[in-house]
Symmetry: C2
Subunit: 333 residues, 2 copies
């Protein structure tokens, strides 16, 4: 059976390049042993956090190994099963390798329903993306109606969901993104109250102040760097900052410097907390229930950028750092 | 009646200087009206946070006004009373002005017991200093026996108490201070497990790693700056950082830069929270009860640096930034 695989050829230095990846095409015998299932990949999720796993550094999940396949969230179809929990024809999602076909024990995979939502949604709004937005905002942000929420990386997969949930919960919602097309989309399609284009705004500190006349109570941070520095000048007493991503510094080769946050935290009794969705696995059932309800009620919408072709997976990943995606970036195999 | 007062003459730029303060000596009639008490100052507390109030910046308490008296925690004796809650001869503590004598309505003052502890203790271990150490460590740090606690500014007033409470609660306690005399004192007098002199340690990151073989679970931060940066390399998953002070940057005239904390918070699901003791006023009765018990049981000890003379109050305050104090810095009037 012909199987294609994408390996990490070498650890990227700074921005990832195509030459950091290696393609392998093999004709292998994928034997389905007792307890195993054979999977055919349909969709691959590419996410900024994968950049961190390409470094050889201790983190919340082990780094990728050089010469080994990369893995991320996938949707796949069960082609054959010798596992009681899965039948041929089932669809599953979970953390799997960047392969067109692979054998799995089924561990950590969840069965998904093709009829209640499009399959790609299980990599986005009904998957880690949606869980991250919902649980980050509610568990750390602890929003109260009438408060002000600012979201950076707002036009990204997580950001668009965070903003919409903010509106559902009665918050004043301000998004920060990098093009006028994106900021317009945040307002017209996702219901944000205001949106700021950081690429055309000379003074972010003042722009945030203007967009948030009552100050910032909750900051959902996907970017880090100077945008997050500008937020600190505008936080209210008891502000909560959900540190979900730092895409602006993921490719740095030296340790990035920013404003010292400590004086701002002290004078506002403010909180910054690193958020990793994998710590909240016990809350995924609640999250999927709430998100499905809102989706069914038409209160949530989502955007996907779908790239066609397994071979374009590394490029799709690299494009995340150039802001080429609107909403969730997914590869259709 | 001759009364001396210390005013803020001008807002300090960088490190405070004697010329930023003004002394006033007046012969005034301090009339005790109905509801008022006349106070004679015995002890004045000088604290690093007062530096922040000397700037004209929005913070958790309003800035001092130029040309007006400075205020801080004082212990005073009631010389005359037309207030039902206080009698002549009572001792009180509370936020009062830097004056040798003053009239007060009694609002916010608490009566203190000269017999159960020395009067100066009510500005330290049984006052804001002790409350800050105890409530910061327990409310944000949420310590579990066996965990590792690092305290910066460890030889300061709050730091020595934090470390001792850490030991009472079964933690591995490491202190960071700026002289060998201080680090030796932390171990021999206050029971810290390890202490690091940052002035003689070339690589703080490695020194912390060595002193904390199991990593850092709780960081009680009194200093900010490069020491706090070095901590970030050593934090464990779910670490809690109590941001209580940032003395290393209080005198900066430009916005201080540090390492970007966000990537460290994310990869460790770690928390940083600004701590202001004034937000925890409802817990002061619990705190004083617990601290008095430990003090009575001989489990807590404290150190004071007592400077004699009202006229030396500004110098005592300035000396905080040169690390001249061991434990609580107090002026005896």
């Amino acid at each position: 059976m012909i199987t294609e695989t994408i390996l990490l050829k070498q650890r990227p230095i700074g921005k990832p390049k195509l030459s950091d990846f290696e393609f392998l095409k093999e004709d292998t015998d994928l034997a389905v042993k007792n307890g195993d299932i054979l999977l055919d990949t349909i969709y691959i999720s590419v996410d900024p956090y994968l950049r961190g796993r390409m470094n050889d550094a201790k983190s919340y999940i082990p780094p990728f190994e050089v010469g080994k396949p990369i893995s991320s969230g996938l949707v796949a179809k069960v082609m054959a099963s010798k596992n009681d929990h899965f039948n041929e024809g089932d669809y599953v999602s979970g953390m799997l390798e960047w392969k067109t076909k692979q054998i799995s024990t089924g561990e950590g995979l969840i069965k998904i329903d093709k009829n209640s939502a499009p399959l790609s949604a299980y990599l986005g709004i009904l998957g880690m993306t949606g869980f991250t937005a919902y649980l980050g905002l509610t568990e750390i942000g602890k929003p109260k109606a009438g408060e002000t929420l600012v979201v950076s990386g707002a036009a990204g997969a997580v950001g668009t969901v965070v903003g919409q949930i903010g509106k559902i919960l009665g918050l004043h919602v301000v998004g920060i993104a990098g093009t006028d097309e994106k900021t317009e989309m945040l307002i017209s399609e996702f219901g944000f109250d205001h949106a700021i284009n950081y690429n055309t705004t000379a003074n972010m500190k003042d722009a945030i102040k203007k967009a948030c006349p009552n100050g910032v109570d909750i900051y959902f941070d996907n970017v880090g760097g100077p945008i997050s520095d500008a937020i600190l000048f505008n936080i209210n007493k008891f502000a909560r900052m959900i540190i979900c991503g730092a895409i602006s510094v993921y490719n740095n080769t030296e340790i990035p410097q920013s404003m010292s946050v400590q004086p701002f935290l002290i004078k506002n009794s403010a909180l910054m907390q690193g958020f990793i969705i994998f710590n909240y696995a016990d809350k995924f059932p609640d999250a999927i229930k709430q998100l499905s309800t809102w989706l069914g009620e038409g209160k949530l919408t989502y955007k996907e950028t779908i790239v066609e072709g397994f071979e374009n997976t590394p490029q799709a990943f690299m494009d995340l750092f150039n802001g080429k995606n609107k909403g969730k970036m997914i590869v259709k195999v």
